[in-house]
Subunit: 102 residues, 2 copies
DNA sequence: TGATAATATACCAGATATGACATATTATCG
DNA sequence: CGATAATATGTCATATCTGGTATATTATCA
């Protein structure tokens, strides 16, 4: 539906399928992105609660500051797996992750 | 803790870290695997409810029968992303996925 | 039992994600 | 304002994931 949103997402690297819905995202795509954003934001929230910098968190997770930034921004090169693993490493539980998603 | 379980997981391709817990899985690792298994099983359940074969489902998802089998078995080469995308394509919602996980 | 459908396992080439690094941009504070 | 910490963005080699294919194993049923 929203051309600007589509362009914005694509410019960030998202590949927007057009089989069923030429402009805009399919229901599955947008739900998937919503889930990732929810996880991203939860990660940023948790980090700030603990007063850690991205660099500090990166070291705890054997990652890099730039990747933490991308995780928290919902960058398309970040997988749900990585977000979930990061949250678990920060002490999240299945229940809290479920709550974040649902 | 359980040596056999560790060997079993490793033989299936899981890489069991040993920084904090030489034998057995760290809390994060086992929780992550639990989540994947829950998603795997939900996918298998949904497919069977719909009386689809793995081959039929594979075609709907632009995937392959072998990958569906691996998804349903919790194979370590299957990402949470793929499982979530498959569930969404089968009509799952954020809420139902959250319930599956949590 | 044998035939056939369904599922599982093994492998690979191409696609995607990851950490690392460099650099840019944006706070924060004197 | 300048200095410095924090966050964001771009790029890339390597690692991991994915669909496809082949083949093996396991149901299902006549």
């Amino acid at each position: 539906m929203d051309k600007n949103k589509k362009r914005q997402l694509e410019s960030k690297g998202y590949r927007v399928g057009d089989t069923k819905d030429f402009l805009g995202l399919s229901q599955e795509q947008s739900t998937y992105i919503e889930m990732k954003l929810a996880l991203s934001q939860a990660l940023a929230r948790k980090r700030k609660q603990r007063r850690l910098t991205q660099l500090e968190l990166a070291r705890k997770l054997n990652s890099s500051q730039s990747r933490i930034a991308k995780m928290e921004k919902g960058d398309p090169t970040v997988s749900v797996d990585l977000l979930v693993k990061a949250l678990l490493a920060m002490g999240a539980t299945k229940k809290s992750i479920a709550k974040t998603i649902g």
